[in-house]
């Protein structure tokens, strides 16, 4: 798996959906995903359709009595893309916290009190 930014997953809502589906569950039901991500029904529907069209998410529809139920799970390419994106984010987080640690012992750069943030090399391409 290579750490790389995936523009399709990068928007925060899609990252939440994919990150939750990649957590280790097999299938996750619509309401569980919506509640865990803290988003509305319409937002989840909209973004899950984008992910489904991209082949990242598989959708299964069913019903319990008269109530329709929708279940989601990541496809194999989707899982690979999410893991790569999360690895990229982890690198970024490490680089940012490392950069902050580097400047906190008193070194200030130029204009005032804001600590300088060192960008990871990966950001150069985005």
């Amino acid at each position: 798996m290579t750490a790389k930014l995936d523009p399709l997953i990068h928007p925060i809502t899609r990252l939440s959906i994919c990150g939750l589906l990649a957590a280790g569950a097999d299938w996750v039901e619509f309401a569980a995903l919506r509640d865990a991500a803290g988003i509305s029904d319409s937002v989840l529907s909209k973004h899950s359709r984008v992910l489904e069209d991209a082949g990242y998410v598989e959708v299964r529809k069913g019903a319990i009595g008269r109530r329709p139920r929708t279940w989601f799970r990541l496809t194999a390419p989707g899982r690979l893309a999410v893991e790569g994106h999360l690895a990229w984010l982890a690198q970024l987080e490490e680089a940012v916290s490392g950069g902050l640690r580097e400047v906190q012992p008193g070194a200030r750069h130029g204009d005032g009190d804001q600590p300088r943030r060192l960008l990871p090399p990966l950001l150069g391409s985005s």
């Binding site: 957590a23 280790g24 569950a25 039901e29 319990i64 893991e83 984010l89 916290s97």
Partner: protein
Amino acid sequence: MRDVAQDSAALERLRVQRSRLADRMRPPWWWWSGVATLWALAFACPVGSRFLPQGYRIWPILAAGVAVALLLQSGLARATGITVASPMSRHPSGRPAATAMIVVSVAALVTEAVLIDRRLIAATIVVAGLAVVAEIAAQQAQLRGIRQDLRAGGGAA
């Protein structure tokens, strides 16, 4: 330019969301009652098969037990909104508990068989009772492991 601070905060936000998802993986009371009944039924089989009146067969009871187990799993998925793959393959934190459940099952059934041969029925019932308690404790540990894996992202993050 991309907001670096926001990007790195995304992982923290995802950890909170995964924690929320993991908290849903708590079975309701009826699931625990059903599971305890099934374990009790399973560990009552050695005694039952030996002492049931002639003409009664244990296999229909076992088949009904399997059907109830499948219904319980389906009910759990509906209640929690999450289905999980086998803990042995996908959830490393649940593996020790799953192994313990197999070991307890085998040990209890063998012990019961030995005790029944020696006509120690009271001791057999005590062993069966203890095995049910041990299985429920192992199952709770397994679910704790699965929740832990869901929080940690199952190695994905």
